[in-house]
Subunit: 241 residues, 6 copies
């Protein structure tokens, strides 16, 4: 039987830590850790919505993802210094935003905007899935803050929870929650975003090496489903604790 | 039984046209049409590879996607005028590049670069899948040009063909090859990139409205599989014709 | 007697094709071809005018010119990727805008804006003159669209037609409508924009090699006058056809 | 007989002042004044040429034009603050560069670059023509500096002098050297760049209002010819003085 | 006793020239010279204030500093061409703005904005201190212009004058008003901004080489105090003259 | 006697925490906390130096400062999204870099570069002084890492330690280590950077309200001197612990 670099079994998550209230100013904030991957999620509530949404009576939820220059093994240049945001950053920011919008009733927000900033303090694979998993809790706490401030248009805002996990095929074996070293070697790489009740919000599978067939796809989806279920439990525990 | 806006059945492609050699200068070029969607794909061969790949003996394939300002119903501002490339453009350019790299042996290219420009002249939904489907033919022709110029490091360059199609659930019904109006109304939207032999290079499913379950995912994948098969046949016909 | 690269006589235009209605969405659109030079002109009508013109009761006409990266012999980087628009692009966009404003009564437009996008799909010299010649027809059709929509403030909008042609001295011989190869070798290069009734809107002559004298200037102006007359006839034919 | 705003006759230049050596560091520098228009021209010699010209044995001459924010009647934003250079700035920089390249033998420069910066300290119409007229002298002095430094590849560098003047039709009357107020009201506006021996380097005529006919063009060219002749004399006097 | 490069004594200013009204359009303008350092200061009055200050009843004063590309010994690239403003430019612009705001009662301005542009025409050390010293006079004259136009909300606008000087330790000796060559060699470099009545608005001391102790700091402050006193006298003389 | 918002005495630091090794990848890293102000300092070692320093045999030390968008009370836009770095960010990055260069012998580094990233996770005043104080420890640890890797050109690299503190006059009382609320109300604001042996590297005093006199300056310097001494002790303790 395969053992992984860090001794995990194929279907085992890394140690997940979800620290709510890590910041003093933000309406919701979570430091989420998937092993060495560490992402700071901060939810900000602001009055009003983007221009194209004005007068709709609907709120808006958006996300911005970024990596600190030395979150990675070797330092990367800042996007602010380069003066432009890279394609990967754009792509992940959009993914996080869509994932959160999948479980929120924007009518209940009234014409308010929630921005969730996900800043990667340390990266070791799975930063986007950690970000989504943490962002949900930050969003949750910001919604509760809005409730306390009587800013909500109706009671029921979040329709479910959301979490995300990466899965991939490494040396022919499907693995859950890839760390950086595994991610680099994966033939197929998939990120799956699921609701607490086990439905999909986003499925993104990519053949990094050879194309993959239906059977591989199925085994990866199964692995991801079990992983997201575990994450949902951890999220619920964090909300209680 | 449902009929669609344009009279198609649920599993029917729009009229697909693949015009090779639409440009005089490019090493490979194709005007691809999926109904009213019209994308000009141009493949350019240049000596050398990006800095990070130098000395590897491997070639490189990349793609750039863009929309003309009036390809859409209402005019959009140019990204060159705005001075920055939007997230959607980045995302699609990266998708096309990955799709093409999935079926090419970069060692056979030697240290040469192939850039495939996909410019949307008119948009009516499915621009990214049309782009991939057309880009394959432009890439093919550019490889043949390299062969004629004796620029290839080995005979076998393309390991398969590649095509792509969008599928989605509209009013609860899974549909193939969404036009713009359908795309806007879709609850779930999926783009599937497949090789000629029916394996996956990329699967990107997004819940635009409610989350989707496993059964919907399966029916969309089946629909896409049949669509890509048809596109493969059309590509093969275009190569013969 | 001199024969040119492509067999034309010194005062002969390349084959000109003017295809109206090439796009489905735009209020006016023309694919214009001067030989291998192929420019897609799309006219967009939008309500309102730029801020500095508000309250004047006058409309506005502006143009944007750009080249697809592989319109040229060797691929050029996209200006959107570079993040800035080059001097040549700026210069030609401004020239097209001025040329069109020279034959339109902006009061008749009401406070509406017409943007004419001129995208070069393939370049073989004379892209700016082809663009102006095609843009006139796209503008014409967009004005007719406005008329049908009852958006015009008065009946008479266009005061004349406009066309443009390049002329130049190659190996001491004045030539009409230079193709790329001739353009590169020209000692003097001139672009002339004229109204249908034979007056000038713009004259831009540049000594690329040695300075030119008054006699050369006169012979180039005569050549251009005859060329624009022919283009005017072709435009009129396209409007009838 | 018409008298102009500032009392000049139709064919009269404003008071022209050409102060050589206005700066201590630059290899050549001139403060040029056409009435209230005041442009500082500085020529810088640097070793080497742009990449695309390397190994050609030829030098390069280029120019950059800019306006100080309060050179104009009302303050304009800085292009450095806006983060992009406007079309007009680009256009004029390119015109000055072409004008200077028209009278220099770049082979004689060896692989060295001359940059001529033309910064408008105060603007009252005709800034581009003043800039060209002053830039010639700054270029001349920088060439002499190169000669003294034994940097020239051959003796004869400048093939002629160059100057420029604006002409225009105001209230139906052709006028020489328009000041700002006249420029705004001109129906036709033309900038003419000429060599010392009376040939053309650049002719740029634009109909600001109604199109112009051949007769108007001829009278403007005559007026400009006489103006440039006078400027040539003043340049020669400045070189002697 | 030490003599300096240019023969000055340690506590001696360079020749200072303050030429008011150097420009015709600006509401206030000064050409300030500290030896070869030459800065053009132009004050512009505009109605209204930045958005964040609207409705406060207070005016706003801001400054923009920039260097012409050939103000320096070797040419620098334009920040407009680079598309971004460097850190040093930002820092000095902010310093000048703060210095001027230190002596003005913004309530007296009403909701109007004063922009002071400080463009370095020639640089030989001390450009920021020359800029502040000249900017005060330009500001003064713009305030007088506002008074004449009855734009002021109250009589007393300027609470004092302001001037600035650089001091530094070179070869162990504290020197006043460093020229470029001294500045490069200075171990400690300090810029001091003072009011006419001898109080501090800004003190910026930097160890360029070894850290400095309290005694050095004291002697530099004393030197600067005497220098600013002299500059205040020269400013007063310029206002009378 | 005055008590401060948070109960401190006038000359009392906030609780300072210095956590070394907060990151796994960086050669040196420190989470520094001054009360609620929390800055993550990461030191990266890279081979080589900037172009202008090549061949000098000297190393280079530089710093980049940035704030997370929700480090502040209300969310700020990302500089990467705005596409440009603000003046304040530039200014502080430069200050940190100079401060660190003041205590390092760049010859001992060989031609290697140390970049210290200081990212503000939470801001409550004094972010730049916390950053400098933490950056010193990150720099120290990176130098030790270089020593272990035998990358140093000589043994003695750091000539002293460096720390920084803010001081200011609030309601006429000089206070040490201002929190945000005090900083906003301060009449005079000063940042002082000192070496472990009590000398100055940087003194930056600014009159936010009324100008300050010599006596105020002296009392602020005394307060800062005592504060930096305490910080030095804490840094030393952190290095031992």
């Amino acid at each position: 039987m395969t053992t992984r670099i860090d001794g995990r079994s194929a279907d085992q998550l890394r140690t997940v830590r979800l620290t709510r209230g890590w910041l003093d100013h933000a309406e919701g904030s979570v430091l989420v850790e998937f092993g060495k991957t560490r992402v700071l999620c901060a939810a900000s509530v602001t009055e009003g919505v983007p221009r194209w949404r004005k007068g709709s009576g609907l709120g808006w939820v958006t996300a911005e993802y970024a990596m600190l220059p030395r979150s990675t093994n070797t330092r990367s240049d800042r996007e602010s210094v380069k003066g432009r945001i890279g394609g990967r950053t754009h792509e992940i920011s959009r993914l996080i935003g869509r994932s959160l919008r999948g479980i929120i009733d924007t009518a209940a927000l009234g014409e308010n905007t929630l921005v969730i900033d996900c800043d990667v303090l340390q990266a070791d694979g799975g930063t986007r899935t950690a970000a989504i998993t943490g962002a949900y809790l930050a969003l949750h706490d910001a919604v509760e803050w809005m409730r306390a401030q009587k800013l909500l248009a109706s009671e029921k805002v979040l329709t479910d929870s959301v979490s995300a996990i990466s899965v991939g095929v490494v040396d022919g074996v499907p693995l859950l929650d890839l760390c950086y070293e595994e991610d680099v070697r994966a033939e197929t790489d998939m990120n799956v975003v699921m609701t607490g009740d086990g439905r999909f919000i986003e499925v993104q599978g990519t053949a990094e090496g050879a194309p993959f067939d239906r059977q591989e796809l199925d085994s990866l989806l199964a692995l991801a489903g079990a992983g997201c279920k575990e994450l949902t439990d951890l999220q619920n525990a964090a909300l209680v604790g």
